[in-house]
Amino acid sequence: MAETIVPVGHEPVGHEPPPEVTHLRHHFATTEQQLDASMLGMWTFLITEVLFFGGMFTAYAVYRFMYPAAFASTSVYMDVWLGGINTAVLICSSLTMAMAVRSAQLSRERPLVLFLILTMIFGTIFLVIKYIEWHSKWVEHLVPGFNFQYNEAPQYTHHAQILFFLYFCMTGMHALHMIVGLGLLTYLLIQAIRKVFTAYYFTPVEMIGLYWHFVDIVWIFLFPLLYLIGYHHPK
């Protein structure tokens, strides 16, 4: 049965399975309405997230505009290689997430489990690399509020501190979203192993997929802003 391909939106008419399979909740009339509502809810939530990160991007833009020289001086400490690898890792995880969603839509249980695990592995690699980067900043006394000392260009100490705060704030908030995403993926994985998801019910996979892509896109903006703009090679 699992091999039967049921194209999305082409389920046989009049053969809607019972609620145990479709997970149709009482206040919805049809599974289609339920899926539509969930997806719109997720998109709306992501708009909220855009505005949430938007506040930090605004702060970044303002300070970059006010203190360009201090900002340029900090780029020495940004590891473009680690950032670049992380970008690639996240793009891969987006691909495997998209494959997972497609597998769920086609009722393919084993590929679904496989792609979910792959996505989680990529997500974890990202966080490990991020940890390595943060750790080196800690060692170099670049954490505002804890041990900030700026020897690169002492005249910029104050302004560089604001940049490093923004760096930690933005990448930290992004990493927090990654951790939440990994939690959600764990939930999906358990449900997938229990064979809950079928072509009749894949709403959570698609919703969490959207969330995951969103978190990736945030990084796609963070990487050039924090690592590439004003980049010059370390001496």
Partner: protein
């Protein structure tokens, strides 16, 4: 038949409704019924309203004499807690979380909101946020004003800023979830035939509110978070000593907090549309204009925040732009006022309590709105900024407008929510008290502001005393006007007459179902075949 039911109520089995379906604590605390969640919200925000009101009573007593009763420190904490509680824990959730939560699914013919469990979650989040705010009060309060301006809040204040800011941060998520739920519900849960152009205007205005909640509140959240980082770790982002920019805090704060004004007033405008139409027995004049003016307000509200910063270091050119845009936002608001007035023209008007509140709303909101134009004008703002003129202006909008509408809505839908009628005489009397008390409280503040009395001071020159005493006297009357409904509403729960399904003879799906409604509102999904407010020619009703 009816007399038998009234004579021996015990003998007849009461029909099952959402209230008597179960009486356990669990059935309330784990409910996903939008109507029960609305009731939970109603109780919570009423408690917060009483708390915020108590702070207002205290500082109005202080202002009876020019020297003041409390220290400057205490006074600062009183008005700050009043502002924080009233804005974030009463006004923002007021109509959306209670009346709209209860009514939107019913008005569009749905069994519930799109996400019932998220709806319940939003209430729990609200409660946690409120507990943080209450904790801040109990520990000694906050003295930053409700605006939390940096660097005072982030560096210099030694009050409980973090607890209060964290409460605001958390409560914001409950607001976001409510807005998100409304947006999805209005898009996806409408009954067959309930087209966008047939939606009650109350639904339109709460939909527009939802958009603002979803787009604005996250910016407040990140602002509060940055403020917390600054206060805890002194990272410098708002600290001018090391190049941080306090003005940035104000930009971020007002990017939410101006639109928040419309989170607070738009749902009230929706209530007024419903009430005016019902008690004039007429379709709302220019339905499309009223509906789209809600959307226009939602959009424009995001581009006017700079009018709070005319004298705080904003460039002259931005100020000019923000001034013009602020004038623009008055247009859709005026459209609404004109259309309500036109709705009443040649209508068959009756003067029930909800309508009295609606009259109050139109008059007071108009004054509040027009004095807003004084403040949007650059030159007059320089003179009146930071005076009682501003205080009077936004209380005319928030209290004279929103709280009036909230009270009107409560009186309008109370029979639907509880199945009971309240005392007609007492409710009219208290509506009168609210109107008189409100004007007596706040009109003198326009004059005080015009004369130059600054806000947020615990003392003042003796020549301002007469007006301040008048204002405090008004506040006492107003307080009584708010206290009475709490009493007669509670009284009605047990002793009120049965309201019946449609005590006002109103149009709208909510009046066609049982009072109080059953858990799933409708036995069968209704099919809508007519426009909203189909009251027919006035003559027929009168005859």
């Amino acid at each position: 038949m009816a007399t038998i039911v009234q004579g021996t109520p015990e003998a007849v089995a009461e029909p099952v409704d959402y209230l008597n379906v179960s009486h356990t604590w669990k059935s309330w605390l784990f409910t996903t019924d939008h109507k029960r969640i609305a009731v939970l919200y109603l109780i919570s925000i009423t408690l917060m309203f009483v708390l915020g009101g108590a702070a207002a009573v205290a500082f109005r007593i202080n202002l009876l004499s020019p020297e003041g009763v409390f220290s400057a420190e205490t006074y600062n904490r009183l008005f700050s807690m009043h502002g924080i509680i009233m804005v974030f824990f009463f006004l923002v959730p007021s109509i959306p979380a209670t009346l709209a939560n209860f009514l939107i699914p019913i008005m569009i013919g749905a069994k519930d909101l799109a996400f019932p469990r998220i709806n319940l979650l939003s209430w729990y989040i609200y409660v946690v946020g409120a507990l943080f705010a209450i904790y801040a009060v109990v520990r000694g309060g906050v003295d930053t004003g409700w605006t939390f301006y940096a660097p005072f809040s982030s560096t210099y204040s030694n009050s409980y800023v973090l607890a209060a800011a964290f409460g605001v941060f958390i409560a914001g998520f409950s607001s976001i979830l409510t807005g998100l739920n409304f947006i999805v519900t209005v898009h996806k849960m409408r009954a067959p035939g309930m087209t966008w152009s047939r939606l009650p205007l109350f639904v339109w205005s709460n939909y527009a509110t939802g958009l603002i909640q979803v787009l604005g509140t996250p910016v407040l959240a990140i602002t509060m978070l940055l403020l917390a980082f600054e206060r805890i770790a002194h990272v410098g982002i708002f600290d001018p000593n090391i190049g941080g920019d306090p003005i940035l805090f104000q930009h971020l704060f007002w990017f939410y907090s101006h639109p928040a004004v419309y989170i607070m007033i738009l749902p009230g405008m929706g209530v007024i549309s419903e009430i005016i139409s019902c008690f004039s027995r007429k379709r709302v004049f220019g339905y499309n204009f009223v509906a789209f003016s809600s959307m226009a307000i939602a959009v424009l509200s995001f581009v006017v925040w700079g009018h709070h910063m005319f004298i705080t270091g904003e460039s002259m050119y931005s100020s000019i732009a923000f001034s013009i845009l602020s004038f623009l936002v008055a247009v859709p608001s005026a459209i609404k006022v004109f259309n309500w007035t036109a709705t009443m023209y040649k209508g068959s008007i009756s003067f029930d309590t909800p309508m009295l509140y609606a009259f109050g709303f139109i008059g007071l909101f108009t004054i509040g709105g027009l004095t807003g134009l004084f403040l949007a004008t650059l030159a007059t703002d320089v003179a009146t900024h930071g005076t009682y003129f501003v205080v009077a202006h936004f209380h005319y909008v928030m209290v004279g407008g929103m709280v009036m509408a909230y009270m009107g809505g409560l009186h309008f839908w109370w029979p639907k929510i509880t199945g009971r009628m309240y005392s007609e005489a007492w409710s009219k009397f208290s509506a009168l008290l609210v109107f008189v008390g409100f004007n007596l409280t706040f009109f003198p503040q326009f004059i005080l502001g015009y004369l130059g009395m600054p806000r947020r001071y615990h003392n003042y020159p003796p020549e301002f005393q007469t007006l301040n005493v008048l204002s405090t006297a008004g506040a006492s009357v107003l307080g009584l006007g708010y206290l009475l409904p709490i009493i007669y509403f509670l009284h009605s729960l047990k002793y009120g007459a049965r309201a019946g399904n449609n005590p006002w003879g109103a149009a709208g799906l909510e009046w066609q179902i049982q009072s109080p409604p059953t858990t799933f509102n409708f036995d069968e999904t209704p099919v809508v075949t007519e426009e909203a407010y189909n009251y027919g020619p006035v003559e027929e009703i009168v005859g």
